[in-house]
Amino acid sequence: MSVEVLNAAPHAHSRVTVSRAMISVMVCLAPATGFGLFQFGWPAVNLFVLTLVSALGFEILCLLIAGRQIAKFATDGSAILTGWLVAMTLPPWAPWYVAVLGAGIAIVIGKHAFGGLGQNLFNPAMVARAMLLIALPVQMTLWVMPDPIVSANAPGFLDALAITFGQQTDFDAISSASTLGMVQSGLDAGRTLSEIMSQGYSLHDRFVGFVPGSLGETSTVLLLAGGLALVGLRIISLTIPLTVLGSVALLSAVAHTLAPQQYVPPEMQLSSGALMMCAFFIATDYVTSPMTSLGQAIYGCGIGALIFVIRTWGAFPEGVAFSVLLMNACTPLIDTYTRPRIFGRDRAGKPLEIGKGRS
């Protein structure tokens, strides 16, 4: 009888690990992703796989350069998840270099330049999206009409390879896919909101996802379902999703009530898949969001407000990436000012007074 392990307490563990959290997020992303792949066919599948593979490749490369244990860090699932999130935001028929560049920016610049897992200030997937939008504005805004993989018109696997890896761009592309973008250009052209809306997609289609859009962001409903599953698994809390969605809804409701012909109604904003994805999967990124509930609420409201501002008055129809990045930069500041109250002390850190109970 002898026991050799002399580890310090606690000896019990919750069994929730980093890779379990990462895998849970991927599982919850799967329905919306699957729907996107189904809708946009083989080119989307190619692009998705390519993004994930290059993300993992860049991760291993960075670990090699940094001299870290590859087996330990490459298997935590964080690189695959980052690649996955990048792929979700790409136009489904984008050429191969968009995927590789996106994964490279996310992993190399977004993550490892800051010191690897847990050290990055900005959300890697959003860094990639923002940089791609600026660097490759054409490729990043070429959308296709959904055409399920099983339909006769959809490209076969070989055609798909040509679309992804060849220089073939003669598919029926449309440059302004998102309804919000359409609304904005319509408003710029001096038309009224009700005119534009009559030509757009129905709210139902937008919620379910029968619209052109990014690879994984078309189905708002499936993203919402996945997000709620993530809350149910206790991987994320509801604070950030609620504050992001709530502030967008509130601001657009107020604006729409004041000027119904200028501002889109809140249900229009909320039916955007990109917003839903941001609320549940992007803004909730552990590394780049504040650590307390109060901080997360402030952060969520900030993102929601910025999304509304950028979507309404900004040059980009999609405000998600920039809003998230701007609030990421505020996270350390928010963390400093939203520390929890220490037991037995008031918020200022002074010991409580007897008889007053808690402040």
Partner: protein, 512 residues
């Protein structure tokens, strides 16, 4: 509502809550249904003289002395210390040093007794009658019996009972939360000895001069609540059981007080300063034994559990029994046992040496398999904030850990390091398995060391300065004496010269 609570008994008090906390797998089913059993006499008993917080006891016996069961063999030294008694009759074979039941395994003063097998009682302390015993009598008896806090903190119980002279006390809270997973010793004690435990509670309340008594039991111990209910009710109209949520660290004194009374103990203060004293249920049982029967604290109930032990059980163990004997009584450890602990899995101490004894604060002996224990592989922090949400003290463990890793201990203190109670919730919940509480304990130890170094340096400086002042004073005195001496000598010389001159003149005058 008042009527409702009157009908349902006193357990429907308003409950408060504290933030944070975690819910580890209780695993109490392993030993919950095993009745408390006695162990055969071990062949050797090692009684450390330091089983409590405070100064170690002074040995009263020598090698080859014959001792009787319950005989005082170690005398408390100073106000915070505890008496030590012989757990059985036998011969003292050594008064020396032996490895402590602590991860360090450092030697501590220990009396080793070879039992003679007769288990013969020495003269017991006179019994006290509840009707006539004064608070001082009770507190004195608790002191004589060497009773310490048996929840694991081992603070001398009599010191706490004597606080009535210093603070205006009104409430006694009995900590029977037993929030550590696996442990069932307090649960079994309350189920099998409810009357005795409540009798002890009554004595403690009397010693403290309080009438309000709250017995706090976690919601996962329904049988204990049922067993205790009528006996607690008999303690008075102001006595009642409060069923508290099963949540770790409910058994932390200040968090328990907050849960049952709503009052939050200000930082760096005692609950006594709010008029509330907390004692453990097992301590109450020991008080009952000491007051009613004059029996000192020489045994305790220990839970032996974990999947690494063949037969989990609750055993009444004589203080000083080697762990190996306790484990053998439970069928020994299985091949998969990967670590051995004293205490629960959240705050228990890992032990390697099986010859170390059970002491007054040992509530559990756990043999855990690798599958049920935390691994030591850690990943980088992903800032998920789980540690912040789980901290019952409102701290930010990830931030404190960063500061400590950067060797900025002052920075860590600024964000609340000294308010950490080392409960381990943060490490338990951390998905990256980062040893957070270990870093905090390291930092606290290092700070204490620095403080004592600083104190030592200041003391040295003070002594050196005092010595210098003394020497200077002596030198100054010497110089003054010398000057005085010189002045006197000069005066004498001058006087002599004057005298001589005068004589010369007078002689000259006379010659002329």
């Amino acid at each position: 509502m008042a009527l409702l609570s009157a009908i349902s008994g006193t357990s429907r008090r308003k409950l408060f809550s504290f933030r944070g906390g975690v819910h580890p797998q209780p695993n109490k089913f392993l030993s919950r249904d095993s009745e408390i059993e006695d162990m055969p006499l071990p062949s050797l008993i090692r009684v450390p003289l330091q089983q409590h917080i405070g100064v170690e006891a002074e040995p009263l016996v020598r090698r080859d002395d014959h001792v009787l069961k319950g005989q005082l063999i170690g005398q408390a030294r100073g106000p915070v210390s505890a008496n030590i008694h012989a757990p059985t009759s036998g011969r003292v074979i050594a008064v020396g040093h032996f490895a402590a039941p602590h991860p360090s395994g450092l030697p501590v003063p220990t009396i080793t007794i070879r039992p003679d097998g007769k288990d013969e009682w020495g003269p017991r302390l006179p019994r006290l009658r509840p009707g006539t015993a004064t608070p001082d009598d009770i507190a004195e008896r608790v002191r004589e019996a060497g009773i310490v806090g048996m929840g694991g903190a081992t603070f001398p119980a009599a010191v706490k009972l004597n606080l009535r002279s210093k603070y205006d006390l009104h409430t006694l809270v009995i900590n029977a939360a037993e929030c550590e997973p696996y442990l069932t010793c307090d649960d079994r004690l309350m189920r099998e000895f409810a009357e005795e435990v409540c009798d002890g509670i009554g004595f403690m309340a009397r010693a403290l001069g309080v009438t309000k008594i709250i017995v706090a039991i976690e919601s996962n111990k329904a049988d204990a609540v049922a067993a205790m209910r009528s006996h607690v009710g008999a303690l008075g109209p102001d006595a009642g059981i409060t069923v508290v949520p099963t949540q770790y660290p409910m058994g932390s004194e200040k968090h328990l007080v907050r849960t049952v009374t709503g009052q939050e103990t200000p930082a760096r203060m005692l609950t006594a300063e709010m008029g509330i004293i907390v004692h453990n249920a097992a301590t109450a049982f020991a008080v009952h034994q000491a007051v009613r029967y004059g029996e000192p604290l020489i045994s305790r109930i220990v839970t032996v559990s974990g999947r690494g032990v063949h037969r989990p059980a609750n055993i009444r163990v004589l203080i000083g029994t080697p762990l190996a004997d306790v484990l053998n009584h439970c069928g020994g450890m299985t091949g998969e046992a990967n670590r051995l602990l004293l205490g629960g899995p959240m705050m228990g101490q890992p032990i390697r040496n099986l010859r170390v004894p059970v002491i007054k604060g040992t509530n559990g002996v756990l043999a855990l398999t690798a599958a049920e224990s935390r691994s030591s592989e850690a990943l980088p922090c992903i800032r998920c904030g789980a540690c912040v949400r789980s901290c019952p003290c409102g701290l930010t463990p990830l931030e404190m850990n960063q500061l400590i890793q950067a060797d900025d201990l002052t920075g860590a203190v600024d964000v609340g390091l000294m308010d950490c109670i080392s409960c381990g919730s943060c490490t338990f919940i951390c998905p990256s398995n980062i040893p957070l509480v270990q870093a905090f304990n390291y930092a606290k130890g290092k700070l204490a060391q620095q403080q004592s170094m600083k104190h030592q340096q200041e003391e040295t400086k003070r002594l050196a300065a005092a010595r210098k002042a003394r020497e200077d004073a002596i030198a100054e005195a010497k110089r003054l004496a010398m000057e005085k001496h010189k002045a006197m000598a000069a005066a004498r010389k001058q006087a002599a010269a004057e005298k001589a001159a005068a004589e010369e003149t007078s002689a000259g005058e006379a010659a002329e």
